[in-house]
Amino acid sequence: MKVPNNWQTNSKVLIDHGKYIGFITEDGSFQVQGVPSGSYIVEISNTDYIFEPVRVDITSSGKMRARKLNLLQPNQVNQIQYPLQMAARQPTKYFRVREEWRITDMLMNPMVIMLLVAFLLMIITPKLAAGDPQLQKEMQNMQMPKMEMPDLSETLANFFGGASGNKKAPAKKQAIGNKKR
């Protein structure tokens, strides 16, 4: 892990969320003095890294022990070594990764895959059929229902070309088209 500059100045030891404060020396050690007996939460305040908080119990005779902090079951004892040794668990993440648009994400979408496969089949089947004359014949015999599809380019042209002046053009085209057929 990258150690930030001057981390000792920018870190602090908080006992019971700031009731007592400990500072960190050059070599990374710390001590908090003048704490009466009781049970305390010891945590490290640092902007770059997350540290695991610890519970420290001090008996009235001055004996100390440290255990894992368990807020849900405060009586559970899971002893850890004392004097404390605290290590950074992980760098603090402040930002959620923004969702990016990636071409692979789109291509891996099941709907897109289905469409692509269908498209591929559409291209490949006639070519396969071309190699086999029998199949071609069969296909020609197949009666496909004919449907009048509205021509997209025509509609667009109508739209952009305006209403009055160009009225003749589509009529002409239709006539030509009929002749050809």
């Binding site: 001057n6 305040s45 807020l71 402040y94």
Partner: protein, 931 residues
């Protein structure tokens, strides 16, 4: 969730002790503050190099700098700590429990030993490790004023035991044993003595001044006579002492042979002595507040080096002065009564003084915050004027209409031309990205060309247009502080636009819960363009049985009016306006007399009640205000029957401006669960210190009915309440499980609503209230807690929690929901209620201040903006933090990273493409026709 601008500033706090000196070619500026912080500042620009916040004790923080080891030694009541000067890293600390009633006398480093005196105790601490070498207890009530080294291995202390004796003690530096004790039996009160270096100077009431070199074993005092001396001050330079007499200020030069009076000037409280770092000549500097003038004298020749006015004028008087002279220039550091810190630079040849930088450290003591809309821009005001002509004829209205339209068009054109020129400039100088420039051209925010200003510095006048922006995100933040000034901050960069000093006799108010307060009220906002905005601040007058109301313009900071009133018991803003659109201030003084500012004698438009309580007895009162008879009459009385150790610790009511948009929640089965939206519901938290019992009450302030009460045994402070709409969230420390918990109570009327138009406290509800209560474990401590605020109340409210480790957390209200249960019904699941989990998870991604940690936060202020989705947030404490949050996402504006370039490119390509396609088609059709 998406956050935009973030502004953050760390402060040190109101300076308590200053150290400003050039040591080994470095300018060192150290400040210890009343907010328990120690900081080192960069003298070039006033930025903080490092800051260490110490434990919050009642006692003040004292420190000394040791140039041999390059450390700063700090002491408080319980500890002594040494920090490395250049990095701020702790070198060592030692726990020394000092007794309560005695103060620290001296802290000085001699050879390798830190000498700390505290009443009769003297401690010798090793300067390299912090270990206690020795401690000596004189077991009498002696107090020490000076220490000096005497030979190789001993020190001499000077001070007093009883009033009329000055005593010199020789101690061994190695083990602290008393080697010699001398008492000079002279008629001097040691409290009128001062010591610096090896000299101690005392004065008596007859006017005799005695100086003694106490570092010698056999000291011979020298004497002189001065007329009516009142006080003596030691300077950092051991040879010079300043004596204040009734009519003048004398600078004495003290040697072991004689005392010479080398300078006599007009009396003042603020002065300093320092040695020039290049010529090594001592210089004396004094400040005169009545003229605002600073004077510097060369102490060798008694020549006046400099007499100059300090800018800016009409500010709080200067209370502390330190300076650093370097031959041609003098750097003058001043601290004003309202904690403003300035560094001035004076040139001795040109005799002019200019400000290098300014820090408003008073902002560390913010008491109340209000965010005010900026005034309407000229364009908006023109539109408004169009509608002012009432009862005008058709023709006149028509002319008005046309002229205003022409005017608007002209403005728009001029504005666009301006923007165009600016955009062109930006493109040429290549200062901002193309996308920002593009946005700016079409009415976006002006990109900042210069680097942003430091928060808490004086605003540059030309950079900030003082008018409302389109989304009303630009606001004026008005803050009142307990250090005596009111400030106007710009919310875009946090710079101080104006400051208003409330006077030397300023004293904050104390409320029933014994908290210091300086209430701030916005009497008239900026929505009435024909009137200027007005705000009021209330405070006590020091050493007098009166209080003062100061009325000012919150946009410009100019004083409008001042009212002197009897000592305040209560001051409240009334929820309606008078003829001039001002909300009158109601003032209740200690004689139970009520008064209105501005005066209001007509009957109130609707019955107005106030809620009152006695914090220790638990008596509650409902009172009705009568503006005609100027009396308040008790309408109801209730008792909470407190035990002796129980008292009210927190109160939370709802502001009258708070809006509740939706009256209910739609359940999974399409029924509506109506919220209990009583606007006069008050939440009380009472705490029994002996039993450690916390009781939460919800009380209707109109009829005194206790709607809800709940108990939490074995709890401890701190307690925080957030009361909003139909819910109350509160936090406490659970002593049994040793963790922080957040409780939440939600009130519902049930599936039928009693009165859909108005809430009425005087009628009963159709069905008994449905009350949900739940509590959650919170893994952190809580410094402050509040809820977000938006214009219509349509957006969800999120909780904002300031955490001790420096984070500002946004918790969605969906998690702090009292209706969360473990076994959800399918209807509840459809309503998207989250199943109950005992712990509220704390994700670092929800920290809205990211890595800009903020410490010792005392409060968070939220305010609505012109955008319904966005709430403005200011967290204040020893750090200031400002941001915008959008609890339900920014549903009403485009995303911040919206790609204007791509969108416009696509548009251009589409239009161009369609024309090309049209041409191609025409050619094709002609070709087809010919074929």
């Amino acid at each position: 969730m998406h956050y935009m601008k973030i502004k953050w500033e760390s402060l040190i706090g109101c300076p308590e002790q200053l150290f400003y000196k050039r040591v080994n070619g470095r300018d060192i500026l150290l400040i210890s503050s009343k907010q328990h912080a120690l900081g080192s500042l960069d003298t070039a620009n006033g930025n903080i190099l490092w800051r260490q916040i110490q434990d919050s004790m009642e006692d003040s923080l004292g420190f000394t700098y040791d140039n041999i080891h390059d450390i700063v030694i700090v002491y408080n009541k319980n500890y002594i700590r040494a920090f490395d000067y250049s990095t701020g890293i702790l070198k060592w600390e030692n726990f020394i429990s000092l007794s309560q009633n005695q103060r620290v006398g001296i802290l000085k480093v001699i050879k390798n030993v830190v000498i700390l005196t505290h009443g009769p105790f003297i401690y010798g601490i090793k300067v390299t490790s912090g270990s206690l070498l020795w401690s000596t207890d004189f077991k009498d009530n002696s107090e020490w004023i000076g220490v000096a080294e005497n030979g190789e291995s001993s020190i001499n202390l000077v001070g007093g035991i009883s009033n009329n004796k000055l005593s010199i003690v020789k101690l061994s530096l190695e083990n602290g044993s008393t080697q010699n004790r001398n008492s000079i039996d002279v008629e001097y009160n040691f409290e009128r003595c001062a010591a610096s270096g090896r000299n101690a100077v005392c004065l008596n009431s007859q006017g005799t001044i005695l100086a003694i070199d106490f570092s010698k074993d056999k000291a011979v005092p020298v004497k002189t006579v001065l007329e009516q001396p009142i006080h003596i001050y030691a300077s950092l330079d051991e040879k010079y002492f300043v004596v204040k007499s009734l009519s003048s200020l004398h600078v004495l030069h003290v040697t072991s042979e004689k005392i010479t009076n080398i300078l006599k000037v007009e009396p003042t409280e603020v002065f300093s002595i320092s040695t020039d770092s290049s010529t090594k000549e001592p210089i004396f500097m004094a400040y005169y507040d009545t003229l605002g003038v600073i004077k510097a004298f060369d102490l060798k020749s008694s020549k006046n080096l400099l007499t100059s006015k300090l800018v800016p004028e009409r500010q709080a008087p200067i209370s502390k002065l330190e300076f650093l002279s370097t031959g041609k220039t003098i750097e003058i550091l001043t601290v004003r009564r309202d904690c403003r810190v300035d560094l001035h630079e004076a040139r001795l040849d040109g005799k002019e003084v200019s400000i290098e930088w300014t820090r408003f450290e008073g902002l560390a003591t913010i008491a109340s915050v209000e965010m005010i809309d900026l005034p309407l821009s000229e364009t908006q005001a023109t539109i408004e004027t169009e509608f002012t002509a009432k009862d005008a004829g058709i023709l006149r209205t028509f002319i008005l209409r046309v002229t205003s339209q022409v005017e608007l068009f002209k403005r728009l054109f001029v504005q666009f031309a301006h923007r165009f020129v600016k955009s062109f400039e930006l493109i040429v100088t290549n200062q901002a990205s193309f996308s920002t420039i593009f946005r700016h051209l079409f009415g976006g925010e002006t990109p900042k060309s210069s680097k942003p200003q430091r928060t808490g510095s004086v605003a540059k006048p030309d950079t900030l247009p003082m008018e409302r922006d389109y989304f009303n995100l630009r606001k004026m933040i008005v803050v009142s502080t307990t250090s005596g000034s009111v400030y106007g901050l710009h919310n875009e960069d946090g710079s101080v636009i104006w400051s208003l000093y409330l006077g030397d006799d300023f004293e904050p108010l104390n409320d029933q819960l014994r908290r210091t307060k300086v209430p701030l009220f916005i009497q008239r906002g900026t929505s009435h363009y024909q009137f200027s905005s007005e705000a009021a601040v209330a405070f006590n007058v020091k050493n007098a049985k009166s209080s003062r109301l100061v009325i000012f313009n919150p946009i410009t900071g100019t004083l409008v009016n001042t009212y002197q009133v009897e000592r305040l018991k209560r001051v409240e803003l009334l929820p309606f306006t008078n003829d001039e659109m001002l909300h009158p201030l109601m003032v209740l003084d200690i004689n139970n007399k009520i008064d209105f500012f501005p005066s209001y004698s007509a009957p109130l438009p609707y019955s107005t009640f106030q809620f009152n309580f006695n914090a220790s007895s638990g008596d509650l009162y409902g009172e009705r205000i009568d503006s005609v008879t100027r009396k308040i009459s008790t309408t109801w009385k209730n008792q909470l029957r407190f035990s002796k150790s129980e008292k009210i610790v927190a109160v939370a009511s709802k502001p009258f401006s708070q809006t509740l948009h939706s009256q209910g929640k739609v359940l999974g089965d399409r029924a509506v669960l109506y919220k209990y939206s009583n606007p006069s519901l008050v939440a009380l938290a009472a705490f029994d210190e002996v039993e450690a019992l916390l009781t939460i009450y919800l009380i209707d302030a109109i009829n005194g009915q206790i709607i809800y009460s709940g108990r939490h045994p074995r709890t401890r402070p701190p307690f925080h309440l957030v009361h909003c709409e139909n819910w109350l969230a509160y936090s406490y420390w659970n002593e049994k499980a040793r963790r922080t918990e957040i409780g939440v109570i939600e009130l519902y009327e049930g599936l039928t609503q009693t009165n859909a138009v108005h809430f009425n406290s005087m009628t009963t509800e159709k069905t008994p209230l449905t009350i949900y209560a739940q509590s959650f474990i919170f893994s952190q401590g809580i410094n402050a807690m509040t809820a977000t605020e938006t214009e219509q109340g349509l957006t969800n409210r999120n909780l904002l929690i300031a955490l001790p480790f420096g984070g500002l957390l946004e918790v969605s209200k969906r998690f702090v929901d009292a209706r969360r249960t473990i076994d959800l019904t399918p209807e509840m699941r459809e309503e998207m209620i989250i199943p109950y989990m005992p712990e509220l998870l704390l994700a670092t991604e929800d920290l809205i201040n990211y890595n800009q940690s903020i410490f010792n936060i005392r409060g968070i202020k939220t305010a609505p903006s012109g955008l319904e989705s966005t709430s403005l947030v200011l967290a204040y404490g020893i750090d200031l933090f400002y941001t915008r949050v959008s609890p339900s996402g920014t549903f009403d504006i485009l995303k911040d990273d919206f790609d204007y370039v791509l969108i416009s490119l696509v548009m251009v390509v589409l239009i161009g493409g369609s024309f090309v396609v049209k041409r191609i088609w025409r050619q094709n059709s002609i070709e087809q026709a010919w074929s």
